[in-house]
């Protein structure tokens, strides 16, 4: 058994790290005395206070997010349960989530058309944007010469920052008339096709930017390893690089999807804002089903909120159902973010 270690001499917390005596010994015989390095009390105090400041900021953000969720949930619940603020009758979950009939004036609050609209427009946009974005990412990271890589990266970063209403104006004034003129015998072209196209243009830069990062972060040893076995450059890209980057490419796509789902302005300007689009599609018989689906004026959760929320009275069923829609959007986006997180974790594992 080793002997127990002796106790350390007692020191006070404020004692300087370098005792005065030691400092003096060290300076003996030298013309310039060695300074004793010590943080001032002010700095230590500031350290403690900044800690509190950071904590307060974090709490504020958490409170805000939680507050929004609570607000949406409280108002949305009013649609289904008789709450204090209600001025109107309540509706059942069935009437809201399973009905395609949206006619608030007549007491019908089916939001299926908006959910379907959101899914359709984001799905279509992603169908275009995901492959385009990923392949552009490959091109920028692995194929383009250095000067072009720099230009493309900067262009993509700029495009990410363009406000969505600008895309909306572009769609409204240029794309809609053009499409209507070219394919639809001057019939209005508003609907999923043009909305999805605008949305795709909006999210492609995000997907490109993130997939470029994904490909650039791959070690060049993978590329070399593949080509050293006799693969062509394209085989290396298809068989090694894209599979290796897959988790990050999925994250890029999901983040693009997140941006698409929440987009209201640009879509609202070109989608036609017709809550009864499902009914209209069933009735119309003049075009093929695909064309009818692509060019029937429609609506999504976001566009309907933008369109109708300002016109409804607080506490009315109409108003409450719109809040429920907002809550639904919030939860969908949350789910997407969680999915992104999970994908990111898988990548690191």
């Amino acid at each position: 058994m080793a002997e127990p270690m002796p106790d350390l001499p007692e020191t006070t917390l404020d004692a300087p790290l370098l005792p005065d005596g030691l400092a003096r010994i060290a300076t003996q015989g030298t013309p310039c005395p060695t300074p004793v390095f010590r943080q001032s009390h002010l700095h230590r105090l500031a350290d403690r206070w900044t800690h509190l400041l950071f904590l307060a900021c974090t709490l504020l953000v958490v409170l805000l997010i939680g507050g929004i969720l609570y607000f949406l949930a409280a108002r949305g619940a009013g649609a289904f349960f008789p709450l204090a603020g209600n001025t109107d009758k309540v509706v059942t979950f069935r009437e809201v989530f399973l009905s395609t009939n949206w006619d608030p004036g007549d007491g019908h609050f089916g939001i299926v058309p908006f959910i379907a609209g959101t899914l359709a427009v984001t799905g279509l946009a992603l169908l275009v944007a995901a492959p385009t974005g990923v392949l552009t990412g490959v091109f920028i990271a692995k194929v383009a010469p250095p000067w072009m890589r720099n230009v493309m990266r900067q262009v993509m970063d700029l495009l990410v920052g363009i406000p969505s209403v600008v895309y909306g104006i572009f769609g409204l004034t240029i794309i809609l008339p053009m499409v209507g003129h070219a394919w639809l015998a001057d019939a209005p072209a508003a609907g999923f096709a043009v909305s999805a196209a605008i949305l795709a243009v909006m999210i492609v830069p995000t997907v490109v930017s993130l997939s470029t990062d994904a490909f650039e972060s791959l070690p060049s040893s993978l590329d070399e390893g593949s080509q050293a076995l006799g693969s062509t450059r394209w085989q290396a890209i298809w068989r090694v690089l894209i599979p290796a980057a897959r988790p990050r490419l999925l994250t890029a796509t999901v983040l693009g999807l997140g941006r698409a789902i929440g987009e209201a302005m640009a879509v609202q300007m070109v989608i036609g804002n017709n809550p009864q689009w499902m009914l209209l599609m069933r009735q119309a018989t003049d075009q093929t089903p695909v064309l009818r689906f692509l060019f029937t004026p429609a609506a999504t959760l976001t566009t309907e909120l933008v369109q109708e929320l300002p016109n409804t009275a607080s506490g009315s069923t109409w108003n409450n159902v719109l809040f429920a829609m907002g809550l639904l959007l919030y939860l969908m986006t949350m789910l997407l973010i969680l999915a992104t997180r999970r994908l990111g974790r898988q990548e690191h594992a």
Partner: protein
């Protein structure tokens, strides 16, 4: 190992004449000439930055993947200049395999890593692939360790196993030459010993060129040793002679640790 008493019986596989290599303005290799014999292990030693890795990469032209380089002089495999116009780089790289400094398994299963090469060349039949994978893994002395977990990810293996997997991956396309660029520099001594044993077995029917920082390793595994300094070939001879009676003073100084 080949000794000075036994005459060389193997033909020349690779021959290099007056090879110059430039990255832009910088001359990395300067007037190199050497012959490399089939089924022998040729080690290339020299201090960092002497161009030995660059030289190795000339044999499969892999440096052309990432940068623009200028090569002049001749480099021939079986008498055919591999820098001649009309040479298919993809075919060249199939015949001249490479193992890199750091193990670089693809983030796929062990099986898929080895099957990658054969698949590139259109092998689809499952039984054929299984056979090729097993054969390559046996040759790289990895089969017994991984035969029950072929479907597991290759990135979960130890560094030494990963490097042997990379050797198996290179062997699966049946190359004639195997280039090894400091294959043990990232490995512990036990894993290194395994790779060195492997090199001894593989040279039965492969031409091996190995770049190494480790002079003991060169002495242990190679039949020939070439000493590079500042992009020039100072001396090349039988390994035994290089390490006992080198002709050049500089070689002696380097292998005895007086510089480098």
């Amino acid at each position: 190992m080949l000794s000075p008493q036994t005459p060389e019986t193997k033909p020349v596989k690779l021959s290099v004449r007056n090879l110059d290599f430039r990255y832009g303005e910088k001359k990395v290799l300067d007037g190199l000439s050497m012959d490399i014999h089939a089924e022998r292990v040729t080690a290339i030693i020299g201090p960092s930055g002497c161009g030995k890795s660059t030289f190795l990469k000339c044999f499969n032209r892999i440096h052309e993947v990432s940068s623009a380089v200028q090569v002049s002089g001749q480099m021939a495999m079986d008498g055919v200049d591999i820098y001649r116009g009309g040479i298919d780089q993809v075919d060249l790289r199939r015949r001249v395999g490479m193992v890199f400094q750091k193990p670089n398994p693809f983030p796929k299963s062990i099986y898929e890593n080895v099957a990658f090469g054969p698949r590139l060349f259109g092998v689809r039949d499952r039984a054929t692939l299984d056979g090729l994978v097993e054969d390559a893994l046996r040759k790289s002395a990895l089969w017994d360790e991984v035969k029950d977990r072929l479907k597991e990810s290759a990135t979960g293996m130890s560094g030494g196993q990963q490097q042997r997997l990379c050797i198996a991956r290179a062997l699966a396309v049946n190359p004639e030459v195997l280039l090894m660029d400091e294959p043990c520099s990232a490995l512990d001594p036990i894993a290194t010993a395994k790779i060195e044993d492997l090199i001894g077995e593989l040279k039965e029917n492969l031409t091996i060129v190995i770049v190494t920082h480790n002079m003991q390793q060169a002495a242990r595994v190679s039949d020939y040793t070439a000493f590079f300094w500042l992009g020039k070939l100072i001396e090349m001879d039988l390994t035994e002679r290089i390490f006992t009676t080198p002709r050049e003073r500089m070689t002696e100084d380097y292998i005895t640790g007086r510089f480098g």
